[in-house]
Amino acid sequence: MSLAEAISLHVQDGDTVALEGFTHLIPFAAGQEIIRQKKKDLTAIRLTPDLIYDQMIGAGCIAKLIFSWGGNPGVGSLHRLRDALSNSWPRALEIEEHTHAGMTNRYVAGASGLPFSVLRGYDGTDLLSNTENIAQIKSPFGDEVLLAVAALNPDVTIIHAQQADRKNNVMSWGILGSSKEAVFAAKKVIITVEEIVDEFKPHHNSVIFPEKLITALAVSPRGAWPSYASGYYERDNEQYIAWDEVSKERESFNQWLEAEVFSKGEK
């Protein structure tokens, strides 16, 4: 299946989507295809919105953002995110803000088919009074009070991985963040991969996603660029730095959008 088909068939306006990958294997090609197809009113979940959600926010795809750290890593701010929050441009953006530990455990709950996970987190912070979907919970085995976070079960989780085999199983290695949990938590799963291989070679700390978990698989070489894919290509940090300029003004962003997304086909 092509990426365009996968997005067209499986991402609907108004869906809750999670494009995961923690600094590594960020599914940029899929995110830009969502922009190209003008999907809208999405609730977008991601620990680190990163450039990918800055782009989707600027393009007006996202109505609500659920996240835990919203910067341009190593560079600075996400200007499209800020513009949406401050000026509702190009549309109003609602946010729901958590911690990495909280988001991770929300995916864990979703993956586990449970309504919530328990952690020690958010304690003493102002997030407690400003964030939904968290609640205190008492241990039934003593007096300790802990924090419960509500499960996340995205309509669609999208990740990028290195390889698929001929039977549509997928292997990924390197930093995976909360991707595994986001996949298990989702109702539908789209995975883009660098390439199809005959056989998976062993890697330290690799994870295999059996085809049973995958709704649609698309080959998308360099689909994580300008983030990186361990074993394939490195992070293109110039792009991250350049994004600061590109995204600062609406006009330069719109020019980028036209030139780099709408004028180009699926990567």
Binding site: W69, G74, N105, R120, V145, N205, Y240
Partner: protein
């Protein structure tokens, strides 16, 4: 700062932070100056420093500065790479980490940290900052936390606009009341000196100034009436080796 110094204030801050790290510590590191300090320490006095990054890299040994918290350099040079549930639930949450490094946009006298918003209205802030990331739980669960940020009246404020990570709350007992198991901030390292919490009151106290810095200068850059220890020490000057290594590291991130 006097202009005849052979280093800049960021280099001094980084070197001061690296010296606080002890060999064999398990250290939870963030990107930027904490990484530089940790990598420097590993190449100097603490070769067995055990670095954990929230992205999942366990006992990593980066040779150049990671560009992001999940840089390939961290993964390729790690003993192992695990998922974030394992990092947050199995490593951080039970109190296994000796020291956590945090940055801050604002900090108050009890070392409470804000990295969320500037302004009084959460829904409509003056400036939107990146947010919490791993910080609240790092601050909560590490045996000790070291905060690194530049000194300025805008950063060292009487009241922070949002508590992103709890330091000592409103003083002794606050951490326990909030349910935190870790010891809290043990030092705040800035480009001017080092503050440590008073053992009784938990209030940050200036205990050390960097070479060429005056106590007055630190007080001027702190919005509250900063407590000063009865004897303030002066940080040892950066050695030639420290400076060379820091500069090499910083240069490495530009490649």
């Amino acid at each position: 700062m006097s202009s005849e110094l052979k280093w800049n204030s960021t280099e001094m801050m980084t070197i001061a932070a690296s010296r606080i790290l002890q060999n064999e510590m398990i250290c939870f590191v963030g990107i930027g100056i904490p990484s530089t300090a940790a990598i420097l320490a590993k190449s100097m006095h603490a070769p067995e420093l055990f670095l954990v990054y929230e992205s999942g890299t366990v006992n990593t040994n980066p040779q150049k500065l990671p560009l992001s918290i999940g840089d390939g350099e961290l993964a390729n040079r790690a003993l192992s790479v695990v998922g974030m549930p394992e990092i947050f639930n199995y490593w951080l949450q039970p109190g296994r980490i000796d020291m956590g490094f945090l940055g801050a946009a604002q900090i108050d006298k009890f070392a409470n940290i804000n990295t969320t918003i500037i302004g009084s209205d959460y829904k409509n802030p003056k400036v939107r900052l990146p947010g919490a990331g791993g910080a609240p739980e790092i601050s909560g669960a590490c045996k000790e936390v070291v905060v690194i940020l530049k000194h300025s009246p805008r950063a060292f404020v009487e009241k922070i606009d949002f508590i992103t990570s709890l330091g000592f709350g409103s003083g002794p007992g606050s951490r326990k009341a909030a349910g935190l198991i870790g010891g809290g901030p043990s030092a705040v390292i800035t480009d001017l000196g080092v503050l440590k919490p008073d053992p009784e009151s938990c209030e940050l106290t200036l205990v050390q100034i960097h070479p060429g810095v005056t106590v007055e200068e630190v007080k001027e850059n702190t919005s509250w009436d900063l407590k000063v220890a009865s004897s303030v020490t002066v940080t040892g000057e950066p050695t030639q080796v420290e400076l060379e290594k820091v500069r090499l590291l910083v240069a490495s991130s530009r490649n």
